[in-house]
Structure formats: C-alpha cells, structure tokens
C-alpha cells in the first residue's frame, strides 16, 4: 500500500473542500422563472431561456436524441458545452444525422438500433437534419453552462440551482428574437423574469 505524503494530502483536502463548496453553492443556488410571450404564438415550441456567461466548469454528460417515427425525439435538447449526444435510430428505415451549423458535422447513415455520438465542444444552436428524410428537424441547444430551460406549452420556464450572482438572461427562438435582461440571483430565492420574443 502506498502512503500519501503530507503535501499531497493537503492538496487533496483543498480540492475536496473546493468541490464541496462548489456543490454547496450550487445546491444553495437560486431559481429564475417566468414566462415567455412568443409572437406569433405558433413558434412557442422552439424557445429556450438561458443564462449567459456563468463562470465554472461542468462535468460532461451524455444525452440521447432518438429518431422515432421519422422524428427527432426530443425535438429540442438542451446540453452543455463538452457534453456528448448519442443519436439513436429506432425506426426500421435508415437515417442520417448532420448539421450545417457552427463547425458542422455529418454522422453518416445508420440503420435501426445503431447509434452515432457527437461531442459538442462549442456553444451554439445546432439544427439536426436527416439527409434521407429532408422533412426531419431537431435542435440541440449547446449552452456555455447548464442553466437553460425550454419553455413549457404555456410559455413558462424554470431554471434551478443557478449560482448566486448577477447575470444576463437571454432567450433563443428558432424564428424570432428576444431581448437580454439583467438578473440577480440570490441563494434559495426565486427571481421572476418575463420575456417577449417577436420578429
């Protein structure tokens, strides 16, 4: 059995304390909620509210985006920079996944029960297309941080566990534009911010 030298032990202890503090801060973060008024309302479904530029590093995660019934499921997926998305195919027809956005990628064609993965290194919105079925469309919203949420059917949104601080809250919509608004988050409290997006 190897022994840990005192300097190493102190560094490990410091790292553990730092991690614990960060976890505590996140656990004691605040909530941003509100409603987005989308004009025209028919474009409500493709709306995401997100917090810009939150300092920190975030553990990469893996998410699934399926292709079922000739649709991308979910239609809108929110991930964080560094995360990986596994594209599945549960249709008995061949699908393809490609995106012309940002750096762009083409994962080739794959048949039923096969999958392809892609790691998003750059923040941005990536439309997901299938070259075999041009009507198919999905979106992957890659945030700089995980503090983002798609709106519900009434336009409401909730972003939880945001570290206390002052930020800009912004909204993305596939067809419309919205303003950025300053928001101050306090630990354990909910701040309400309503937004409007339009042409």
């Amino acid at each position: 059995m190897s022994r840990i030298s005192p300097p190493h032990a102190s560094r490990l202890l410091a790292a553990a304390l730092s991690l614990a503090a960060a976890s505590l801060a996140r656990a004691e973060g605040g909530t941003i909620s509100g409603k987005v008024d989308v004009q025209p309302a028919k474009y409500l479904e493709e709306t995401i509210v997100y917090v810009k530029a939150v300092p920190g590093t975030y553990t990469p995660k893996t998410h699934d985006m399926d292709q079922q019934g000739m649709k991308f499921v979910p239609h809108l997926l929110v991930v964080t920079q560094g995360d990986t998305v596994k594209f599945l195919n549960h249709d008995n027809v061949v699908h393809n996944v490609y995106s012309p956005d940002n750096e762009g990628y083409n994962l080739g064609s794959f048949k039923q029960n096969e999958d392809r993965s892609y790691t998003f290194k750059k923040a941005g919105v990536y439309s997901q297309l299938c070259s075999v079925h041009p009507e198919m469309l999905g979106y992957i919203f890659v945030g700089q941080n995980p503090y983002a949420a798609a709106v519900d059917k009434k336009g409401g949104y909730v972003i939880k566990n945001v570290p206390p601080g002052s930020y800009q809250v912004a909204v993305w919509n596939s067809k419309l534009k919205g303003p950025e608004k300053p928001v101050t988050v306090t630990a354990g409290k909910t701040v309400e911010e309503n937004l409007t997006v339009k042409r």
Binding site: K42, P100, D101, S127, L129, P134, E135, M136, L137, R199
Partner: protein, 478 residues
Amino acid sequence: MTRSRSVAMKVLLATAALAAAAPAGAIPAFARKYGTSCLTCHTVYPKLTPFGEAFRRNGYRFPGVDSDYVKQETVPLGQEQNKKTFPDSVWPASLPVSVPIAIGANGTMRVYPDKTASVPRGNNGTQFALDDFVGEAHLWAGAALDDTITLWAELTIADGGAEVEHAQVLFNDLVGPKHAVNLVVGKGFPIITSFGAHSSYIADQGIASAPVSAMLLGSGDPFVLVDNVTGAEVSGVIAGRIDYNVGLTAGKNTSTFGGFNSENWYAHAGFKVGGMRLDGEGSTGAEDSLHPWAETALTVDGFYYHSNEHLDDPISGGPLADVSSTVGGQLRGQLGSLELDVGYYSQQHDRGWVNAAALAKVTAGVFYGELSYVLFPWMVPSIRVENISLDPSGGARVSDLHVMPGIAFLIRPNLKFVVAGNIESTNGFPLDTGGNPTAWQGGAADWGAFVASPSPNYTATTKKQEFESLSFFLAWAM
C-alpha cells in the same frame, strides 16, 4: 329559322359564351390556410378590401412574413436549414396537410320585364330565364410553397365544358426591396390596373370589355383586355405607393390555319395617395375599426396593351392578323365607405371591320364607372354605367350605353346575392361582315352583359332604349 330568331340565338350564345368566360373569385382555401374569415379580404366577395388588394398584389401573401400567419398545419418537404447546404440539398418547401382547394357555384336568373325587349322578343317572348341559375361550378386552389413562392389555380365547369381559367406560379420578392419585383407565369388575367379583376359589386369584372372582332368580324373567341391567357408578368410595388405590371401573353390565335403566334404585351403603372399602402406593410389598421373596408384614398392608373390577334379573314377565308393598341386609365376615389371607380380606354384595330369588301380600321372607346356605398357590411347599393362606342373607318359611329343599378347582399360571408337592373340605350348598331346590323356585345359580362339583338327592320343608325333585364345572381363558395 327567321333572321331575327337566328340573330337572337346568336346573341344568347354570345351571352352564354361571355358568361362562361367570366371568372368568379373568392378563395376559401385561403380562409382555411390562415384560419381567417372571408371578410379579412373581401366585402361582398369577390370585391376586395384594401387589405385584400394588398394580399393579392403581394402574390397572395400577408404583409410581413407570410408563414407567421398560417394556421393550417403543413408538411415540410425540407427544412429551412437545408438552404445552408444548397446545392447539396433541394431547396426546401412545404405542403398544406389538407389539399388547398375550395369549391363554389354561381348563376343568374333573369327577368325581362319588357316583353318587347330584344332578348324576350328573340326568345319566344320568354320573360323568365332560369336556365343559368346554376351556371358555373368552380374548383379553386391556392397555396404557398414557402414565404416567396405561391400557387393559384381555378377550374371552371359550365355548359360549354371545363376550362382551366387560372394556373399560375408566383415567384415573389425576386430581387431588390420586398415586393419590388415579382414574376407570375402560367394562365390568368393580365393585370392592367392597381386592383383585382373583380373590382365591381354589380358586374363580374371592373373593366368593361369590348370584343371588337366578335362584333365586327365574327370571331368566336375575341381579344378583350381582361381574359384568361397564358403568359408571364413582372409586377411589383415600389415604396408602398406605386405599383406596376409588365406582361407578355400568348394572346388570341383562333385562326384555323395555325402556325401563328401572337405576341401580346402590356404595361401598367399606378399610384395611390392616402389609405393603406399598396403592399399593406406597416398598416396601423382602418380609420374606423368597424369599417375595415373604408379609407380615404385616391388611386390613379394608366395602361397600354398591344394585341396581335389571329383569326380567319371573313373576306378571303385565309388567315387574318388584326393588330390593336389600347391606351387607357382608371381612377378610384374612396371616401370612407363611398367608392367611385371610373375608367376609359381607346382601342384601335388596324383591321377590325369590313368596309366595302376591304378590311379597315376601327376605334373602340369604352367608358365604365361604378359608384358604391357599403351601407352595411352585408349590403352594398351600387350603380354602374358602361358605354361602348365603335368608330369604324368609313362607317357610322355607333354606341351603346348601359346603366345598371343594383344591390349586393352578403347573406353569409361566403354566400352572396345580387340584384341588378340593366337599362340599355343603343345609338346605332355595329355592322357585321355582310353589312347587317348585329348585336352589341361586351361590357363587364355575366348579368350585366351588353346584349341587344337588332330587329330585322333596324338599321345601322337605329336608336333603341329598353329595360333589358332584371338579374338575380346567387353565388356560394366553401
């Protein structure tokens, strides 16, 4: 068959032909597409409100971004993002989930109060004509492939058979500022004023037609200004207040000899002062929200139309080319719910009639005017006046005046009823190729048609006044 009965039959056939050629309007397919009432674009359809006219000028698109207003579900034939990968992808489009068609029917019942008037006299004294009460059935289609390309079609079925009256592809916003340059290809109306062809409460068309070669040379399918022809047209609205149309059409080629191509062309420019912009952009709504059709505006139009019509020479029996030039203008003045439309054009044919066994020039002068007042959204009293004169080189100048008072009723937004009187005053009669007085034809067609068959004892200078008819027009669309 006596000569008078023969003439009367020809007159009735000509009336039927004109009625069959007269297109209807209203596209409930658009109402379904946008989930909006007919009243968004029409008063008593097919008459358009200022917004409806803007929608038509914009290539059947709403101001702003058209797809923002579409409520009908669509099937994407590709996604917007495919544009980023063009030419490795097909440019995207969409299809409406349901077939974008609409159906309708219309017809006219006529009553001839004066038994001695020309039509009942030539028709065994019949005073009630219900034959055409269901005169036409229509199948319309209107759809958008995306925010710039739209489709528009109309199939009309009548006693004479079925005819594709419209089948157009509209490429909008081709270059420059929005609405500035659009291209329409296919079959449809040449647009020679700032307003839709059906700009009348009383007649089927706003512009009165003068089928000169039908009256004087016996053509069965004469050239008239507003007709369904194949061709291409470039149009646009500049700065919201000026509109233009320039077109090239196949024209009329009825010669049995074949091998002749017409090269008809036309140009129009209009200018509107006051009221909604011609493209409807940036509108803040009507002055009175309860009267969305009402505005205070003046629109001035000018147009030129060059036609090269091919038919059979009534003298030699060989092919004949009759070239005509038309210069005209129109004014529309609106003061709230009161609207006055007046127009005049002069049309000169180089070989338009037969004089002393030789083809000669003839000039037609056509005036039309309509005064209407939207008393209620469902009731519009109007009075329409049309006058056609023919001035043949070496012959007597003749003219025919029609006064048509009437009321248009909107029983439901998609069901209408029009009652219109037709009082006619002829000052002489056109002479056919044999030098005999022949029937007047033309006007705005359908229930307001000019038809007065001359009695055998009439001459080219006979004056005649008669209460031609009382017409009851019924139409529905859904």
